[in-house]
Amino acid sequence: MNLKKYRKKSPWILHYNAGSCNGCDIEILACLAPKYDIERFGMINTGNPKQSDILLVTGPVTKRSRERLVEIYAQMPEPKVVISCGACASTGGVFRGMYNCEGGIDQYIPVDVYVCGCGCRPEQIIDGVVQALGILESKTRDIEQSLKLKNEAITEEGQTNRRNIAAEL
């Protein structure tokens, strides 16, 4: 049977803050709140990369948080999509070109949906997630790697060992 159509029915989200100003983070919290209750779409905010399908990243990648970002991305099992919430996560926004910022998370991991706005409204986040679900359905289960990944994922008898997959940058 075709299981693909169930992907968009239970997207479990993981939220990582790569050095944002909390503006978008509290909006993500507000999405969980009763007014915009994203559990309607079957979303759970799992704090656990290994069980989540959608990675919501906020903030321009600061130099100290980038390894964690790549690690978390590597720990998530495919199929997975990445949503960058807010101007600074998408392009660096007002922090573009500051000395400790990398200017957008898509310098490190492939981003599927860019949510604009500073800080992005919950409506915008929901729109972005809805678009991401369409992408999630069309994804395959091949390993996606972050853009600046140094060492390859080791594959031994068909199982992928991701212990040392994250890039040391």
Binding site: Y16, N17, S20, G23, D25, L29, A30, K35, N100
Partner: protein
């Protein structure tokens, strides 16, 4: 279970809004030692503010230092810049700044309270508090045009005027919120399981608060009467708006919740006073001069004392801008506060500190 565990919390953890990293050494889930690393969010805003941006633009950049106290940052910067360019802003602008600061304080405190509730495992209370908070987000959006990044105070005044229908909306919203606030009071005070989690955990005594220079609700919960709003009459007329210092005695999580709830109450009074006594005057004072000399400004952000130091050199670009965020002063006390607590109550304690690391790291 006698052996000691090294429990890392962060950088990504479900009970954390922002990347900070704690390493707890625990035996039987009782915390023996704590190590913290907080500078995950360092972006280099100070540098950019004195090289890249003109002094008019900086007020929008410092707003992005922190999304929760963005209005406090923009206001503090605008005040320090006004001191440097030596202008006096109109009264109406002062009142409008106060209005937005207090609205922001309410939404920030409610967020913190809901976060405490969720981290102590009380999901329903988290939902309830967030639900009540949405009303204030709508007010802020109606006043400033955006939900979290307000960009309301600019150098010389405020960016937009308060429409009468918006004022009416705020007043009706406050009237609607009062019984809900009483309900929250009731739950946070009387819920037995919540008190098991919150009473007597994360205690900081008044002496420690003085020794470690703690600021904000964190300090006021220990009975230390420190509130910059009572000391900076010259910048914003807090006393006219009916501000009063709120303190609790036992410096635990419960006391912090109570301080926040009662400050929300006080802020509601202040907002209604401000809207009633809103003077008629232009809202912005234009200027052509450039910043010169040096000045400091202290402002009470939702989390405590915010400190700005600026130095100008008669050009568009500032010479030096120093931002001291409230959490910056609390870090050493935060590490102290965990000692001899259950690991189970750590998330609640972290949330009750209401840490704002993007302020701290800039």
């Amino acid at each position: 279970m006698g052996k000691q565990y090294e429990i890392p919390v962060g950088a990504q953890h479900i009970s954390l809004l922002e990347p900070l990293h704690f390493k707890f050494t625990t035996g039987n889930e009782k915390i023996i030692d704590t190590a913290a690393s907080v500078y995950y969010v360092h972006r280099g805003i100070e540098k950019a503010c004195c090289t890249k941006f003109k002094f008019r633009q900086v007020s929008f950049v410092v707003g992005r230092v922190c999304g929760l106290c963005s209005i406090s940052h923009t206001t503090a910067y605008s005040q320090v810049a006004e001191k440097l360019v030596k202008i006096e802003i109109p009264r109406r602008a002062k009142y409008l700044r106060m209005l937005v600061i207090e609205l922001d304080r309410i939404h920030s405190h409610l967020l913190c309270l809901s976060h405490v509730a969720e981290n102590s495992g009380f999901e329903a209370l988290f939902m309830k508090t967030m639900q009540y908070r949405e009303a204030f987000m709508e007010m802020l959006e109606a006043v400033c045009g955006n939900r979290v990044q307000f960009d309301y105070s600019i150098v010389g005044g405020v960016s937009r005027d308060l429409k009468p229908e918006t004022a009416r909306m705020i007043l009706t919203g406050l009237k609607k919120f009062r019984p809900q606030l009483q309900e929250l009071f009731h739950i946070y005070q009387n819920n037995w399981t919540l008190s098991l989690k919150n009473k007597g955990t994360g205690v900081i005594t008044r002496k420690d608060a003085l020794r470690l220079n703690v600021v904000g609700p964190f300090a006021r919960a220990t009975g230390l009467e420190t509130d910059v709003r009572s000391q900076t009459e010259d910048l914003l007329p807090w006393k006219e708006a009916g501000f009063r210092i709120i303190t609790e005695q036992t410096g635990d999580v419960y006391a912090r919740n109570m301080v926040r709830l009662r400050e929300v109450e006080n802020s509601m009074e202040m907002i209604s006073n401000v809207i009633d006594g809103l003077p008629e005057s232009p809202i912005i004072q234009e200027t052509k001069s450039f910043p010169d000399g040096e000045a400091v400004v202290r402002l009470e952000a939702p989390r405590g004392e915010l400190f700005y130091y600026a130095k100008g050199n008669k050009t568009q670009v500032l010479e030096r801008l120093k931002i001291k965020a409230p959490t910056f002063s609390n870090i050493s006390a935060m590490v102290e506060g965990f000692r001899n607590n259950e690991y189970g109550s750590v998330p609640a304690i972290i949330a009750s500190y209401d840490p704002c690391l993007s302020c701290t790291a800039r």
